[in-house]
């Protein structure tokens, strides 16, 4: 009989973010598919009651928590201590948590402490014949495996966006607090802040409805034999401002900067998608001036509807990977698209985020 522990962290106001609800959905579904299993919830944060109340009706029979100022920041030493205490108190055999940077950082270490095993970036959890199977991708999203494990506890970190979120009415949860004392030296690391791009900066936006991918073609010579990097920057910035799209770029474009070539100044490695970048999840994706074969196209493995603009009708990035390939000049298309968006936005038809 499995004992399932949902492990989530609260935001600064004590509430839960979307990935926590997704993990709650996965944990609740797993508990429902395993008759006789126990289902508990564990929360970590400065304050936890608001978050516990949000998922009061998720089916968990007990709500455990580690809370206090020491547990507000996302920090290995305190998060690991809290997660270990919750796992031991719950006697959990399965721990389900969202694959956020906070839990990705510490839960493998916690699995080590309790002699368990961990699978991160889980994209599917299923029960077949009483056995639990999880899906995850290998080789940078190039092949998908379904695996089962005999060792317990088994930590499952579900990728944000991969699971339907738990939906239910908030209630009042009775939270059982645990006291966790940080080990000596626990204060050696102090979180001093968060650096985030300015609100209007061109960056990745995980909650955006559209991923815009800028390829190296933007910096290459155009039909007139000249490069037009400043104009490319202006067009892309304008498009992103009007659509609030998330900005991705191919590795080649990011690397050009390191090689001293002309680049789009606002792109960093944080924007990189693909084999050595991220594989974001967005409902729609528009790639522009991208080139490359399969290893590069993994960057939009998890993009729903895909369209591409390229001058090459046989481009490996687009053909067979995109739903629509526009064989044309991206500069001209974006110029017109920006004008149209400007016009429609003037009438209040803003592009909605998902």
């Amino acid at each position: 009989m499995e004992t399932i522990l949902l492990l989530v962290s609260t935001e600064t106001d004590g509430s839960l973010a979307v990935p926590a609800f997704e993990a709650a959905g996965a944990a609740a579904s797993l508990a429902a598919a395993l008759p006789g299993s126990q289902f508990l919830a564990g929360l970590v944060g400065a304050t936890v009651q608001p978050g516990a109340d949000q998922i009061a009706a998720c089916g968990a029979s007990r709500f455990l928590a580690v809370s206090g100022p020491d547990f507000e920041s996302s920090r290995y030493v305190s998060d690991a201590a809290a997660a270990e205490a919750l796992t031991r108190e719950a006697r959990a055999t399965i721990v389900v948590a969202p694959a956020t940077s906070r839990w990705n950082r510490c839960l493998p270490g916690v699995a080590q402490r309790v002699n368990g095993r961990v699978d991160t970036h889980v994209t599917g959890v299923s029960v077949t014949g009483g056995g639990i199977g999880v899906s995850r991708w290998y080789y940078r999203q190039r092949m998908e495996a379904v695996l089962q494990r005999a060792t317990r506890p088994w930590f499952l970190l579900t990728d944000p966006g991969s699971q339907p979120p738990w939906q239910g009415t908030p209630g009042t949860a009775t939270v059982h607090p645990l006291t966790v004392t940080l080990p000596p030296g626990g204060a050696r690391t102090r979180v001093t802040g968060v650096k985030e791009p300015a609100a209007d900066a061109q960056t990745i936006r995980p909650d955006a409805g559209l991923l815009f991918v800028a390829g190296a073609g933007w910096t290459k010579k155009q039909a007139d034999g000249q490069t037009h990097v400043p104009e490319a920057e202006q067009l892309i910035r304008e498009f992103l401002k009007l659509t609030r799209a998330s900005l991705g770029s191919s590795k080649s474009l990011v690397d050009l900067g390191g090689e001293g070539q002309a680049v789009l100044s606002f792109l960093t490695h944080l924007n990189q998608v693909g084999q050595t970048g991220s594989t974001p999840r967005h409902p729609k994706g528009l790639s522009t001036c991208c080139h490359g074969e399969e290893p590069h196209t993994v960057g939009w493995r998890f993009i729903g509807e895909r369209r591409a603009i390229s001058l090459d009708p046989n481009c490996g990035w687009a053909r067979g990977k995109a739903d629509v390939l526009y064989v044309t000049d991206a500069f001209a298309v974006l110029r017109h698209a920006n004008a149209l968006l400007q016009k429609t936005n003037t009438f209040g038809l803003l592009v909605s985020p998902r």
Binding site: Y76, S101, R142, L147, L270, K321, L325, H336
Partner: protein, 269 residues
Amino acid sequence: MNNAYQIVVCGGIVPDPLQTLEPVTGPAGPALKNEMMLPAVLDPWASHALYEAAHLARQAPGTKVFLVSLAPKAKLQQVLMTVGQKAPFELVALDGPAGGFTEPFETAAALADAIRAIPGLDPARLLVFGGWESACRGAGATLQMLGERLGIVDQFQGVDELQLGADGAFTILERIDGGKHQVSLCAGPPAVLGWATGNLPEPKNNPQVGMANMRAIMPALQKAKPAPLPAEGVVFASVTLPKQQRATRIVKDQSPETIAAEIVSWIRQ
């Protein structure tokens, strides 16, 4: 203040990203078709960790960099012909599988044993570097388990920057959700840092560094201890390539205005 560190960079090898990969099932579980024939590279994120280690070593005189690698040693030797020219390091090699279907728990155990066996290692000055994920398993789990085995509880993942303070403390930038960086202040070693891409370009090949490294690399490879990773307790029900090939509608001979209107309409749906 002693600012010299002992930096252990953990890095495996992965198939060259430009290779076509196909899963097969072997007697020991899933593997890649012609795995031993595929050209390999040092894992991209581990490479960044190595470059950052070399950069830190230049800032802190007396610092020594070790590269601990668990891989089939014949393949590792090929990869090191190039990697050895990038930065000075001392190799500690373990002869074992390097594929994506190995277990981080077992890999961490083998790496911890190898690190503990490094002569003269001072745990108080130890920095364990590696990639925050690998390009094969992509789990981002091994370093944390390794850190636990070495008793290190100051751990950072998705690191893009490490600044050394005058008092020996580090300011560390970690990637967190939403395209942001978390800034932390760590009192100093020991610590585990799983690097994302960092900010450094790939160093150019330096034949002199390569020659110096190779003198020690070959003996280290010869001394490589076997590290079988049996992947106990895990069963792969399937390993498949994604099949979805989209029927791409190719739009040619349309004006940019028409295409722009179609795209805007699609975005707004």
